[in-house]
C-alpha cells in the first residue's frame, strides 16, 4: 500500500471574480520511503495539493471532491480534531520562505518546544532537549546556544535548517517541502539539498519535493508528477519522464537554459491560463506545438503507458512512434 494516494482531488477557490479551479482532478500516489517531485509553474496547483492533504487550504478555497488516502484512511472524512493529530505529527510541511514562517517574537527554542509540548505533553526542559537534538540533526551550529536566539539572528539558509528541524520534531511519516530552496543562493541551496538527501537516506523518510526546477527534480527525486494548470500532465519514474516526456514537460525542458551546454532556447508561446475559465479539453493545448482538434474538444485521460508511466495526452503514443 502506498503511503499517500490522492484520487480525483478537486480544490476550488470561490473568489468574487469566479471559481478558480486550482486543483482539478488530480490523481497521484506516493510510495513509502521515496522522494517524489511535484513539478509545475506558478498556478499549477502544486502548493494547493499539499495544503489539501493537510486540510489547510486558505479561504476562499475549498476541497470539493476526491479522496486523500493516507495509510489507507481518507483524510477528507476526518473530523477537525482528528486532523490536528495528523498535522505536524504524521504529515509535515516546510514552506518556501523561512523568514515568514518563523515567529519573530519568540526564541527558536520556545517556538519549537511548543510543538513538542502540545503534541507529546512533555515538560519544557525535556521538550528543549528534543529541539536541540532536532537542530543537531539539521547541522545547525551550536544548537544549545541557538535555542535562546531569535529568528532574525540567523541567515536564510540557517532559518531554513531550523524550519526543517521543526518539521522533523515529531518524526512525521510524510514530509512536504514546498520550494524549500527558491529563496536561497545556489551554494546554500546545494547545502539544503544535500541535507534533505541525507535525512531521506538516514531515516527512510517519505519526501514530496514541490518545485519548479527540473534540475532539482533530476537530482533528488525517484518519481515525478508534472502539474499544469491544476491538472496532472504525467507521472512516472524520473528516467521515464526525461526520456519519454509529455509534450509539456518536453517543451519545458527545451525552454530552460542549462549550465552544461549552450543551445537555442525554444520558448513556449503564450501565457499560463486563467483558471477561472481554463482552456477546454487538454489545458495545455493552446500552447502545445502538437495540438490538434481533438485536444481542444476532449480532455485526455491519465493513461498507463507502461513502466508505471501515466500520461494525459491524446497524441503521446503517436508522437513516440515518430521519434
Amino acid at each position: 500500500m502506498n503511503l499517500l494516494e490522492i484520487e480525483n482531488l478537486k480544490t476550488y477557490f470561490f473568489t468574487e471574480a469566479g471559481v478558480v479551479k486550482a486543483v482539478d482532478d488530480v490523481t497521484l500516489s506516493v510510495e513509502r520511503g521515496c522522494t517524489v517531485g511535484l513539478v509545475g509553474e506558478s498556478g499549477s496547483g502544486k502548493s494547493v495539493t499539499a495544503q489539501s492533504v493537510l486540510r489547510i487550504v486558505p479561504r476562499p478555497g475549498k476541497i470539493i471532491g476526491g479522496k486523500i488516502l493516507f495509510n489507507g484512511e481518507d483524510l477528507l472524512l476526518k473530523k477537525e480534531e482528528e486532523m490536528r493529530k495528523y498535522r505536524g505529527k504524521k504529515i509535515s510541511l516546510i514552506f518556501q520562505d523561512p523568514t515568514s514562517s518563523l515567529n519573530p517574537l519568540f526564541t527558536i527554542g520556545s517556538q519549537l518546544a511548543d510543538i513538542v509540548i502540545e503534541h507529546e505533553k512533555l515538560k519544557k526542559d525535556e521538550a528543549l532537549d528534543r529541539v536541540v537534538k532536532a537542530l543537531r540533526i539539521v547541522k545547525l551550529p551550536d544548537p544549545e546556544h541557538a535555542i535562546y536566539q531569535y529568528p532574525h539572528q540567523f541567515s536564510g539558509g540557517m532559518k531554513q535548517r531550523i524550519c526543517i528541524a521543526r518539521a522533523l520534531l515529531l518524526n512525521p511519516e510524510l514530509l512536504f517541502a514546498d520550494e524549500p530552496t527558491t529563496n536561497l543562493d545556489v551554494t546554500i541551496q546545494a547545502q539544503i539539498i544535500a541535507l534533505l538527501k541525507d535525512l531521506q537516506r538516514e531515516f527512510g523518510m517519505t519526501l514530496v519535493m514541490i518545485t519548479h526546477d527540473m534540475g532539482i527534480v533530476a537530482e533528488m527525486c525517484k518519481y515525478v508528477v508534472v502539474l499544469y494548470a491544476g491538472n496532472v500532465m504525467e507521472s512516472g519514474s524520473i528516467e521515464e519522464i526525461f526520456e519519454r516526456p509529455h509534450p509539456y514537460t518536453e517543451a519545458l525542458l527545451k525552454a530552460v537554459p542549462r549550465l552544461d551546454e549552450t543551445r537555442k532556447l525554444i520558448s513556449i508561446p503564450g501565457n499560463i491560463p486563467n483558471l477561472i475559465d481554463p482552456p477546454s479539453g487538454c489545458r495545455f493545448h493552446p500552447r502545445c506545438q502538437y495540438a490538434i482538434d481533438v485536444c481542444k474538444e476532449r480532455k485526455p485521460p491519465l493513461e498507463d503507458v507502461g513502466n508505471s508511466h501515466f500520461i494525459s495526452c491524446h497524441r503521446w503514443r503517436e508522437l513516440q512512434g515518430g521519434r
Binding site: V186, A190, G215, I216, A218, E219, V256, P257, T262, I272
Partner: protein, 330 residues
C-alpha cells in the same frame, strides 16, 4: 576599438551608523563594491554573476549613477559618468541618460499602475524630446511590436498584464530612448520557467537587430551562459574571475567559481551532481575577511591566503583570476 564602457577601481561603501540619542556615529562601512574594474565592448553582452550581497546590483546602479560611487572612474564612450552627473550641464546629463538604460528585476514594481502602457512608453519622449510629438503614437506602436506586444495593448494598464508581458513593457520603455547600453538586472528571475525563455530570446534578438550592449546581472549561471559573451564572477564586493563565456564554463579556475558551478542542478537524471559544498555562508561585508575574501570558505586556503590579497593573474587570453593557487585548477 576602445570599449563602450570602462569601469576603473570602482568603490562603493555604505556607512553603518550606531544608534545614539543625540547623534549618529559611523561605526563601519559595508564594502558593497570594492575596487572593481572591467569593460563592456560595443555589441557585447557581459554577464555579472554572484550570490546575493556580492555587489552585482550595486555595480549596475553605480554605472547609471543611481548610486553615487565612493571612488573610482566610469567611462562611457570616453565620457566620465561621475563627472557628468555631478558637475555637468543638464543637457549633457540627459544625453548620457539617453544612452544608458536599465531593466529591473521586478516588473510588478517598476511600472506605474496609474499610467497606461502608452503613457509609460512615451514618457521618455516627453523628457528627452528626441521624437516630435506627432510621431509618438507610431513610435509607441513600433516599440510594442518590437517587444512582441500588440498595438491595442497601448491603452491598457499594467495590472492587466502577466509578468512576462510586463517585462516586455519595461524593455520597450528602455528602448524608447534608443540606448546603446542596457543594464538588465535579473530580468527573468521573477518570471515563470516557461516564460523565461521568451524574454531571454527577446533580449538576444533585440541585440542582433539594434546592436546595443548589455550588462546582464544575474545569480542564475545557466541563463548567464545562454546570453553572455563574457562573464564576470563577483564575491563579496570583488571580482574573482572573468573570462569569455566558453572559457569560463569549460575551465573555471577560481575555487569559488568552481563551487558555484558545481552547485547548479542539471535537469538530466543521468548526470548526477558532483557538488563542492562550501562550508558556512558569505561573511559580513562590514568586516570582510583579510587577504583573499573567499579564504574562510575555501578548502585550498592556507596562511598566504589569509594574509595576502591575491592580484589578478592572466590564465589565458582575456581570462583573469584572483587566486594565489589558480595553477592547481587549470
Amino acid at each position: 576599438m576602445p570599449p563602450l564602457l570602462e569601469v576603473r577601481d570602482l568603490v562603493k561603501y555604505f556607512p553603518v551608523y550606531s544608534r545614539g540619542i543625540f547623534r549618529k556615529k559611523i561605526v563601519g562601512n559595508v564594502h558593497a563594491v570594492d575596487r572593481i574594474s572591467f569593460t563592456v565592448n560595443e555589441r557585447e553582452t557581459v554577464g555579472l554573476v554572484g550570490e546575493s550581497g556580492c555587489g552585482k546590483t550595486t555595480t549596475g546602479k553605480l554605472i547609471l549613477y543611481l548610486e553615487k560611487p565612493s571612488s573610482g572612474q566610469i567611462l562611457f564612450d570616453g565620457k566620465d559618468v561621475v563627472q557628468t552627473f555631478s558637475k555637468g550641464s543638464k543637457e549633457e546629463q540627459l544625453k548620457l541618460r539617453r544612452s544608458m538604460q536599465m531593466v529591473f528585476q521586478n516588473p510588478y514594481a517598476s511600472l506605474d499602475p496609474r499610467m497606461t502602457v502608452y503613457d509609460i512608453i512615451s514618457e521618455p519622449f516627453k523628457i528627452h524630446r528626441h521624437v516630435p510629438s506627432n510621431e509618438w503614437k507610431d513610435r509607441v506602436y513600433k516599440l510594442l511590436e518590437m517587444v512582441g506586444l500588440e498595438p491595442y495593448h497601448a491603452e491598457r494598464y499594467p495590472h492587466e498584464f502577466s509578468g512576462g508581458q510586463r517585462q516586455r513593457i519595461c524593455i520597450a520603455r528602455a528602448l524608447a530612448v534608443e540606448p546603446r547600453f542596457i543594464i538588465a538586472d535579473e530580468p527573468v528571475s521573477s518570471l515563470d520557467v516557461s516564460i523565461r525563455a521568451q524574454i531571454l530570446n527577446l533580449i538576444m534578438e533585440l541585440q542582433e537587430k539594434l546592436g546595443m550592449s548589455y550588462l546582464y546581472i544575474s545569480h542564475d549561471l545557466s541563463s548567464v551562459r545562454q546570453i553572455s559573451q563574457r562573464v564576470i564572477v563577483m564575491y563579496l564586493g570583488e571580482i574573482v574571475e572573468q573570462a569569455p563565456t566558453a572559457k569560463l564554463f569549460d575551465n573555471p579556475v577560481h575555487p569559488y567559481t568552481r563551487a558555484l558551478m558545481s552547485a547548479v542542478p542539471i535537469p538530466d537524471p543521468k548526470r548526477k551532481m558532483n557538488v563542492i559544498i562550501l562550508p558556512g555562508e558569505v561573511p559580513s561585508p562590514i568586516n570582510p575577511p583579510p587577504g583573499c575574501r573567499f579564504h574562510p570558505r575555501c578548502q585550498y586556503a592556507d596562511q598566504k591566503c589569509k594574509e595576502e590579497k591575491p592580484s589578478f593573474s592572466q590564465v589565458d587570453v582575456d581570462h583573469f583570476v584572483s587566486c594565489h593557487y589558480w595553477h592547481k585548477f587549470v
